[in-house]
């Protein structure tokens, strides 16, 4: 077994530099790499490009880096729920590349799987396709989208082991799974680091080969954005 375990978030983020491109898992605040984000704020790396479906909310998640003006460019599918994001974008302070959600996911998967680019129907005929190659297959139009290139991918899993194997919980899997192995270095933080051999080989969501560093995360807040409930009769 190849050991990927590092002792803490500081070790895990070793090598992070100004101007780099990061991938960050999560959908809204669900499944975001909370520890890595806190450390990025602490390290105060600047001028970074972040690939993340959303940018958290004003005071949590990637919103913290936005508040701190550390982000030069965001590549996301959705801005809503974050006023600071929308403000910086509309004012032009922040460069934003809005990308359809499925395209965003596949640009990660393409990087993970060694595909240079792919054709998707999403965005054809819209401003998303402007300047991009389009092509007809069987009478339907597609847009050619390149794979992402990133320096670090920060993902958060439910359980993991020192071999780098990951298991996610519920809808916290989202982009976390697709970003593993999609950057030069993939850093996984886990709610529970279990002994090697404890995870069923048949039930591993991401094999360790896609992960370079793994650590036991701590102090997870796991905030809920929209607490919707019903009452028991």
């Amino acid at each position: 077994m190849i050991n990927k375990k590092v002792n803490n978030v500081e070790e895990a983020l070793n090598g992070v530099k100004d101007g780099m491109t990061f991938m960050l898992g999560g959908f809204g605040l669900c499944g975001i790499p909370e520890n890595a984000i806190s450390e990025l704020v602490k390290l105060n790396v600047r001028d970074v490009t972040c690939i993340s479906n959303n940018a958290g909310v004003d005071d949590f998640g990637l919103g913290l880096l936005l508040q701190n003006k550390q982000i030069k460019k965001m590549i996301s599918s959705y801005v809503g729920e974050n006023d600071e994001f929308e403000r910086q974008m509309l004012s032009g302070e922040l460069e934003v590349e809005l990308t359809p959600q499925g395209t965003l996911a596949e640009k990660c998967r393409a990087a993970q799987a060694g595909f240079p680019a792919f054709y998707t129907p999403a965005g054809f005929g819209t401003e998303v396709a402007e300047g991009k190659e389009t092509r007809d297959f069987d009478g339907k139009m597609y847009v050619l989208e390149p794979a992402f290139k990133a320096d670090f991918a920060f993902v958060k899993a439910w359980k993991g082991d020192a071999a780098g194997n990951l298991v996610f919980k519920g809808t916290a899997r989202n982009f976390n799974a697709n970003m593993c192995g999609a950057a030069k270095i993939t850093v996984a933080e886990v709610e529970e680091l279990v002994p090697v051999g404890e995870l069923d080989p048949n039930q591993i969501h991401i094999p360790g080969i896609f992960v370079q560093r793994i650590f036991q995360g701590k102090n997870y807040e796991k905030r809920i954005e929209q607490r919707t409930v019903r009452q028991k009769n």
Partner: protein, 218 residues
């Protein structure tokens, strides 16, 4: 009388057929789930990675790791599954999801839709909408017939940046049910008590009224 949001959702629920996998957008579409008949088999997909969504959790049972695309806490039904984002859009792009119901700011008579951006003013982002409308064969838009200023949202041509081209098949508004084909809105049903004239006045795009137009049965 024009329908309220629940009325629109109720009418759209009738478009949901037995055996359908359905993706519901944020807003009125989310309400549709409440009105689908109990005697048919339907599963709701949410593009953030869940199939077989159930109702909201009971108070105290919500789980931060189990949400829908609107970031709302949800539950799952027996037979549900969770998956990653790429797989989720494989379901959508691969046409395994049969019906997409979403909101819009504008719909054009050729089926174009705009719902993600007002240049210089507001940008929410397209989220999964561009993938959904570019992929599904069956796309129903749920929206008010006119905007807050009373202007028609059913247009000859969208004025806002597009989400997708020539993709909307049906529109259900507070006033009417309309099918889009051959570059026109074909009026199928009127909201209870709403006249064809009122619908004509509220529709900027080409409106085809063929014969007697029945009232919706909700």
């Amino acid at each position: 009388m024009a329908l309220d949001k629940n009325g629109i959702a109720k009418r759209i629920a009738k478009e949901v057929k037995n055996g359908y996998y359905v993706n519901l957008g944020i807003g009125i579409p989310t309400l549709v789930a409440n009105f689908v008949r109990d005697d048919i088999e339907v599963e709701f997909q949410s593009e953030n990675g869940v199939l077989g969504m159930g109702p909201f959790p009971f108070d105290g049972e919500e789980d931060a790791d189990i949400i829908n695309a609107g970031k709302q806490t949800i539950t799952t039904m027996p037979g549900a599954s969770f998956f990653d984002s790429a797989t989720s859009f494989s379901m959508i792009r691969g046409k395994h999801v049969h019906l997409t119901i979403l909101g819009a700011m504008e719909v054009a008579e050729n089926g174009d839709i705009a719902n993600w951006k007002i240049p210089g003013k507001m940008v929410k982002g397209m989220g999964g909408a561009m993938d959904l409308v570019a992929s599904a064969d069956n796309i129903i838009v749920a929206m008010m017939h006119t905007n807050k200023r009373g202007e028609s949202k059913l247009l000859k041509k969208c004025s806002l940046p597009l989400t997708g081209v020539g993709c909307v098949t049906k529109v259900v508004t507070n006033l009417a049910v309309l099918e889009i084909k051959e570059n026109a809105f074909h009026l199928l049903e009127r909201a209870p008590g709403v006249s064809v004239e009122e619908i004509k006045n509220a529709t900027e795009g080409t409106l085809i009224v063929n014969g007697e137009i029945p009232e919706m049965k909700i």
